[in-house]
Amino acid sequence: MPRSLLLAVLVVSVCLSAAAAQTQPTSSGNLQAGKDLYLRYSCYACHGYDGHGGAGARLVPMRMTGERFTAYLRSPRTPQMPLYSTRLLTDAQLGDVWAYIKSLPASPDAKDIPLLARIMRGK
């Protein structure tokens, strides 16, 4: 098999694996269900489509445990953060959202972004 074709097969396999992982429930939640809820409840409005923040806090990397995350959404510390009661979202649904956020990739460090490093060194 030519190397390029082998590489293509490998890439496709990896992608399929990743896609499968996206839809399978994990020990902590269903990623696809979590993503759907993240979008449906407009979490992105304050936290960005990839959880990297905006008007609201940065969520990635997710440092809360699933339990802590659920507890926070049941009783947020700031008035800007909407409260989600059990009437609106179950613990399992919040677990899905947490799992989805947990799966989102972290951003590069500022020092590893040449443009930002240049701005930092600038006048």
Binding site: R40, S42, A45, I113, I119
Partner: protein, 557 residues
């Protein structure tokens, strides 16, 4: 009339044509040869006035906006209120068919009023409807003087249609000479006491609102801050203080003395409001104490103050600086240097934090606003540039990443928070920048552009170089968040917060919109790697003297 207008040095008159000022219109383009002022064709009166608003923030003087009787003035009314709340001099002329015995039925009557100025009287500083050419000359000069005396505000002259068509009187009409008054300066005793508090303070903070009227205002504030080694919160309405100055920012800890310069409301410009309970001594210098109206509540809460000066802050700074110099002893100066070093350290830390935050979502699609502003900066930093849009909806990334130290580097926001200001104000500011050879950049929110996008055509028609980069988050995004919070308070969830707040389905193609108006347009751009090359291509157009638009699909904030 045109001679009077020329005597006041108006460069431009923005107008959407209307029969109530057809006499003046014809005189400007023929008798006046369409120079000083040049007539700008606008597609909406709100655009005419907002263009004048943006122009004045760059040029420091008013531009004319001429509007049709009743209907044009009502279209313009929101933009006039924005300028009023932003303390910006805009000079509006409205036509009128004053004589009920002479006017025709039908549209001329619809465009007539017994008291035309009543429509906007709450949001202009002065208005008049002169009854003769001689009165017109005097009213125009008086209005200009009033508009340009702090606090600067819009003014309105209502101009009778029939008077515009009357023959010139036999005897020449006197055009009064414009002599601007010296601006009001703080009382010497109050200035001395303010200096005493500031020199003795352990941790003073200076808050600047709409303070710097001119480039000199920035220099004066730098001198005062460096003398006192005080932190300076430059606010978001004007360039008051260089963004990269070591004393820029909120300083260290709670202040014990606060100096508010043209700060509206009880505390200070956001962020950093000082609650009255903090115990800090407060000194307020504001020209707003000299002028206030009762109906529209833009004056906000009555500020607490230990010393209040009804005076123009920029004009008062030289006296305050001299008084501070007089009271500073060598020992005190040494102590202050130590304080300054700590503030500089905090400033540097804040900058590092900003850089870290800029990295978040750097590779995200839609494009992060930090990435967008970073990519822009990389391509304009060596130009003589001017950001002609507000940064409140873009998480202030230009202020956090760019070096803002000239008055034209940033023009602040709407004033009264009304959408529809951004695009035309950017075009007006870019127009003012054109003769200085500056590169104008407009980071344009999508919701704002949709109020009156015809101003894109005006920019093309009048060859106004301007790079517009869409912050296209496909929503009136602030309201998305507000509705979410409201739903939360009512335990209803935010899953329907998009209803009535988003601009999707279908998505608007802003590149095509620009192209339809005759402008170079590119997009939509969602991949962050495509942003820099697109900026480069668009800037090539702008540097040749034409407007261009990039549609960048962005993260919400």
């Amino acid at each position: 009339m045109v001679d009077v207008i020329k005597s006041l040095g108006f460069e431009y008159a923005a107008a959407n044509p209307g029969s109530s000022f057809e006499g003046l219109h014809e005189s400007i383009i023929n008798y006046g040869e369409n120079k000083m002022p040049e007539l700008l064709t606008c597609c909406h009166e709100e655009s005419s006035v907002a263009m004048a608003h943006g122009y004045a923030k760059i040029e420091g003087k008013p531009m004319l906006a001429i509007v049709h009787g009743n209907i044009g003035l009502q279209h313009a009314s929101m933009a006039i209120y924005n300028a009023y709340a932003d303390r910006v001099p805009v000079f509006v002329i409205a036509g009128n068919f004053r004589d009920a015995g002479a006017r025709a039925n039908g549209v001329n009557s619809y465009h007539s009023a017994q008291d035309m100025a009543l429509i906007v009287r709450d949001s202009v500083k002065w208005d008049d409807e002169p009854g003769s050419l001689a009165a017109f000359a005097e009213s125009m000069v008086r209005a200009y003087k009033i508009a340009m005396t702090p606090p600067m505000e819009p003014v309105l002259i209502v101009l009778d249609h029939d008077m515009q068509e009357r023959p010139m009187p036999a005897s020449p009409v006197r055009i009064p000479r414009l002599t601007m008054p010296a601006f009001p300066v703080g009382d010497p005793n109050a200035v001395r006491e303010a200096a005493r508090l500031l020199v003795a303070a352990q941790n003073p903070r200076i808050n600047a609102g709409r303070m710097a009227r001119t480039p000199e205002g920035i220099k004066r504030l730098v001198e005062l801050a460096e003398l006192l080694q005080a932190s300076v919160n430059g606010g978001g309405d004007r360039v008051n203080f260089p963004s990269r100055h070591p004393l820029a920012g909120m300083g260290v800890g709670a202040p014990d003395v606060v100096l508010n310069l043209e700060v509206q409301g009880a505390g200070s410009p956001n962020p950093g409001a000082i609650p009255s309970s903090s115990g800090a001594k407060t000194i307020n210098i504001s020209s707003l104490d000299l002028f206030i109206k009762s109906n529209l509540q833009d004056f906000q809460h009555l500020p607490d103050a230990d010393i209040a000066m009804a005076a123009d802050a920029e004009a008062t700074l030289p006296q305050l600086i001299e008084e501070v110099k007089r009271q500073l002893t060598p020992d005190r100066k040494r102590a202050l240097q130590e304080r300054g070093s700590k503030i500089a350290e905090t400033h540097q830390q804040a900058r590092s934090v900003a850089m870290e935050a800029a990295a978040f979502g750097w590779d995200s699609s839609p494009v992060s606003l930090a990435r967008l502003c970073g990519e822009l900066w990389a391509q304009i930093e060596n130009d003589d540039w001017s950001l002609v849009s507000w940064q409140g909806f873009i998480s202030s990334w230009p202020g956090r990443l760019w070096t803002i130290d000239k008055h034209y580097h940033y023009i602040g926001g709407q004033g009264a928070g009304a959408m529809g200001y951004g695009a035309p104000a950017a075009v007006g500011a870019a127009l003012a920048n054109r003769k200085h050879g500056r590169l104008s950049i407009n980071i344009q929110t999508d919701g704002d552009l949709n109020y009156a996008p015809g101003v894109l055509w005006t920019a093309c028609h009048h060859n106004i170089p301007l790079l517009t980069v869409m912050h296209n988050n496909r929503a009136y995004h602030q309201e998305v968040m507000f509705i979410q919070q409201m739903a939360s308070r009512r335990n209803r969830g935010g899953d329907r917060a998009h209803i009535g707040t988003t601009i999707k389905d279908p998505n608007i193609d802003y590149a095509k919109m620009a192209q339809a108006y005759g402008m170079y347009g590119e997009g939509p751009i969602s991949n962050p790697k495509d942003v820099a090359p697109a900026i480069k291509r668009a800037l090539e157009r702008v540097r040749k003297g034409e407007p261009a638009l990039l549609d960048v699909v962005t993260q919400p904030r």
